[in-house]
């Protein structure tokens, strides 16, 4: 009757992350730290509404707009701006109208639409995820009806990329299967390929004629530079890969709960793009008819207004810079504590998350002895680190790892 076994492992996973936050909330230790949840915090540890988004909101309130239905594929304003942001205004994909797209319910929604689309139209029903990947990728693709497999990605010894392992695995993937790539700021490891490595990956992927699905949840948020963070998307597209792309504005625009994202496919031609887009709408309509407007208005306003866009570049770089500085502060804090371990990976990894390399036992001690809350895999959310608590964290991490 019910596929209970398959559901249970996932429920445990969901409970693991939610459990971290709940336990954190209950803890009365004044020094407690939540480095579990993946949402940006400012240096005071508070949720952050980007100034450009605040301004956009004020603008919208004054316009007294209505809430009439959007088309199935969402706000045209937002869709076009999302394409330009991802692919570049001068890219052939944009200038020749090769991109079919829909606004989605943030990144999760984009991934699910993509999964359903692949299941419906693609010859292969297998998708390959990096090991490890975001916890929700597997359920999303499995529930889309796809078979989920994996390729080597993270190397435990170096806490970096297992590049040879990755290439080797990809070269053995059956022709025509789908491969999921994280565009930047890999979740959960923070380990990204270099541009040169991306170039090689592109070649191997091409040689296997794989369908490329890129998950880009952190454009701008990783390095502070939009073009740099979109390197893989643009390079692959230039190289002729007709990629599927899931974009999230949750982190880089800080609109998390408003749910703003986009799903795109690059077609061979303008007419193919039109056909693909018509079929994407058919996938969307039975699920929720059309996406949420408010988020699209906010993000669309920021992306399309030159002054707000300029403000956004400052805001997003500010977030990226703060995270980078916390990584550096944590590393130097550990060195100051006298740690003999190599903590280079803290600054080599990029984005919100950091695979510290701590064991489950060490993680448990961090929580029990220091009220520092993180997931068992040793992943910390650097967004939860601030100038007020980075020394405490360094001290705690040193204590459990020395």
């Amino acid at each position: 009757m019910v596929d209970i076994m398959a559901k249970q492992w996932y429920q445990r996973r969901v409970r693991a992350i939610i459990g971290v936050t709940e336990a954190f909330n209950r803890d009365t230790n004044p020094n407690k730290m939540n480095v579990g949840v993946g949402a940006y915090r400012d240096d005071a540890g508070k949720p952050y509404v980007l100034p450009c988004v605040r301004s956009a909101e004020e603008l919208l309130v004054s316009q007294n707009l209505n809430h009439e239905y959007l088309p199935t594929h969402g706000c045209p304003n937002l869709r076009q701006a999302a394409k330009v942001l991802a692919f570049g205004a001068d890219s052939v994909a944009v200038t020749e109208n090769l991109v079919a797209s829909t606004q989605t319910i943030s990144g999760t929604g984009a991934l699910r639409i993509g999964g359903e689309f692949i299941k419906k139209f693609h010859s292969s029903e297998t998708i390959y995820l990096p090991t490890p990947s975001w916890g929700n990728h597997t359920p999303i693709f499995r529930d889309s009806g796809l078979e989920v497999k994996s390729y080597t990605y993270y190397k435990k010894d170096t806490k970096g990329l297992d590049f040879q392992g990755m290439l080797s695995d990809i070269s053995q993937i059956e022709e025509g299967a789908t491969i999921l790539l994280h565009a930047c700021a890999h979740n959960p490891t923070g380990v990204d390929p270099s541009p040169e490595q991306w170039n090689e990956i592109s070649q191997v992927v091409k040689s296997r004629n794989l369908l490329v699905f890129v998950d880009m949840a952190y454009q701008g948020f990783a390095s502070g530079n939009l073009e740099k963070d979109a390197y893989a998307v643009r390079k692959f597209t230039e190289e002729g890969h007709r990629i599927l792309l899931a974009q999230s504005f949750a982190k880089n625009m800080g609109v998390y709960g408003e749910r703003c994202g986009a799903f795109s496919i690059v077609g061979e031609s303008e007419s193919e793009a039109a056909a693909l887009e018509s079929q994407i709408k058919i996938v969307v309509r039975p699920m929720y008819s059309s996406p949420a407007l408010h988020a699209a208005r906010l993000v669309g306003t920021v992306l399309n207004d030159p002054a707000l866009y300029a403000q956004w570049l400052v805001d997003v770089k500010g977030m990226a810079d703060r995270i980078i500085s916390m990584r550096e502060a944590l590393k130097s804090g550990l060195e100051k504590e006298g740690s003999v371990h190599n903590w280079d990976h803290l600054v080599n990894q990029i984005g919100m998350f950091c695979f510290t390399g701590m064991t489950p036992e060490q993680v448990a001690r961090l929580t029990e002895e220091f009220s520092v809350y993180l997931t068992k895999d040793g992943r910390i959310s650097v967004a939860g680190v601030s100038s007020r608590n980075v020394e405490y964290l360094a001290h705690a991490m040193h204590t459990v790892t020395k």
């Binding site: 429920q11 209505n66 809430h67 699910r112 010859s123 749910r259 007419s271 018509s278 309509r285």
Partner: protein
């Protein structure tokens, strides 16, 4: 070399097409009787004053941020929505047998509901839907391989009433434990609802065959102007101790269409069962969209929970209902004045946004092509598109269509 070279171009359902054609039509007399969105007497969208005020409150509230809602959405909305549907002093709520999660409007609620039934219901997965029904119902059910779309007779086109006996006969012949989708009020597309007597018969056959009931609730308040009155069927089933889902939309009842605000309610046999089901529904949500949008939910929650806004919203609902009733009167009067052949009393007796006019496909085509009056070829019109100033034109066009349409 494309992976998708074989993908063909596909048209969206008719209703979207027609809206597009209407928008492009330059005829000054054009009338849009297709889409189910409320329009004022001036033919304009209406942002409810309580919604505007709620937006103002939200905009100036510094404590509100954009953090993720939980998988089940905004709790204050879920709680208020539950009381709205089941009643303030519902025993089911007191017994903690009712659970709710925020969804992507009514469609989103139906989708989660169908997915949940597909994955967790051990009974018969034949889903009985009224003939006719909202077009998206069939699309959604067909989309999930484990579910089987079936129909029950509903609309008697000769008498223009609910054929409750035929409906109950079909449901009585269904396999034990099948699923049945009912429109709680203001049936889309016919506008014809069962009487209380009819509901008693329907409930009886549902109990007899142990059918799993889903209520589609997109128009609470649009049938009578009073949401307690409109929720009668749901509350009756609750009083009988039945298990059921309610797929609720706030799109029309609060004018929040594009903000995608809805709720999926489940009333279980026991509290434990209800909460277990809720936990599984949340897992389903996570792999579709993780958590629902916050903006619309906050607006709806304020309108339901803030005392002054609640009173204002109730008045807005009454106004929308009243305007639609006036539109029905304008059209009915105009049809009589123009001596349009046929009995048009159903325009007055039908409920809610829509009316099944009884016009044939050929007659509808004349209306569209010759008179620039856009409606679905099933003969369904949205009363929201009728105003005092266009009723005469619409009536006269109906007359011409009836007289000149060539039936095949």
């Amino acid at each position: 070399m494309s992976h998708f070279g074989e993908v063909s171009y596909v048209e969206l359902p008719a209703v979207f097409h027609l809206s597009g054609r209407f928008a492009a039509d330059t005829d000054p007399n054009k009338v849009n009787l297709t889409i189910g969105a409320y329009r004022t007497e001036a033919g304009k969208p209406w942002v409810l004053p309580c919604v505007r005020q709620a937006e103002s409150i939200l905009a100036s509230d510094e404590t509100i941020n954009k953090e993720y809602l939980s998988m089940s959405g905004l709790q204050s909305l879920c709680d208020a929505a539950m009381r709205l549907v089941l009643g303030e002093s519902s025993p089911v709520i007191q017994e903690d047998r009712a659970v709710a999660l925020q969804t992507l409007s009514g469609t989103g609620a139906l989708y989660i509901c169908f997915q949940f039934i597909d994955q967790f219901y051990g009974g018969c997965k034949d889903i009985y839907v009224s003939d006719p029904s909202w077009g998206n119902h069939k699309l959604m059910i067909d989309r999930i391989p484990g579910l089987n779309f079936k129909q029950y007779p509903y609309y008697n086109s000769e008498t223009m009433t609910v054929d409750v006996d035929a409906m109950c006969r079909t449901l009585d012949g269904a396999a034990e434990g099948s699923v049945v989708l009912l429109h709680a009020c203001a049936h889309n597309p016919t506008g014809i609802d069962p009487s209380r007597n009819d509901w008693e018969k329907i409930a009886a056959v549902c109990r007899k065959k142990n059918l799993l009931v889903i209520f589609d609730l997109a128009y609470l308040g649009y049938a009578s102007g009073d949401y307690n009155e409109d929720a009668w069927s749901i509350r009756y089933f609750a009083d009988l101790g039945m298990e059921f889902f309610v797929c609720q939309s706030f799109a029309k009842i609060m004018g929040l269409y594009s903000e995608r605000v809805g709720a999926l309610h489940f009333v279980g046999a026991t509290s434990e069962i209800a909460h277990k089901c809720l936990s599984q529904m949340k897992i389903i949500v996570r792999s579709i969209y993780s958590n629902p949008p916050s903006h619309g939910a906050r607006i709806a929650s304020l309108c339901l929970n803030n005392r002054d806004l609640r009173i204002e919203w109730e008045d807005c609902l009454k106004e929308m209902h009243a305007r639609i009733r006036r539109a029905r009167t304008y059209l009915h009067t105009a049809l009589k004045m123009a001596n349009v052949p046929g009995n048009w009393d159903h325009i007055l007796s039908q409920n809610g946004m829509f009316s099944y006019t009884g016009l044939t496909k050929a007659q509808c085509e004349v209306l569209i092509e010759k008179h620039h009056i856009y409606l679905l070829k099933s003969g369904r019109i949205s009363m929201c598109g009728v105003t005092e100033s266009n009723a005469k034109y619409v009536a006269e066009s109906f007359k011409d269509a009836i007289e000149t349409a060539k039936e095949n």
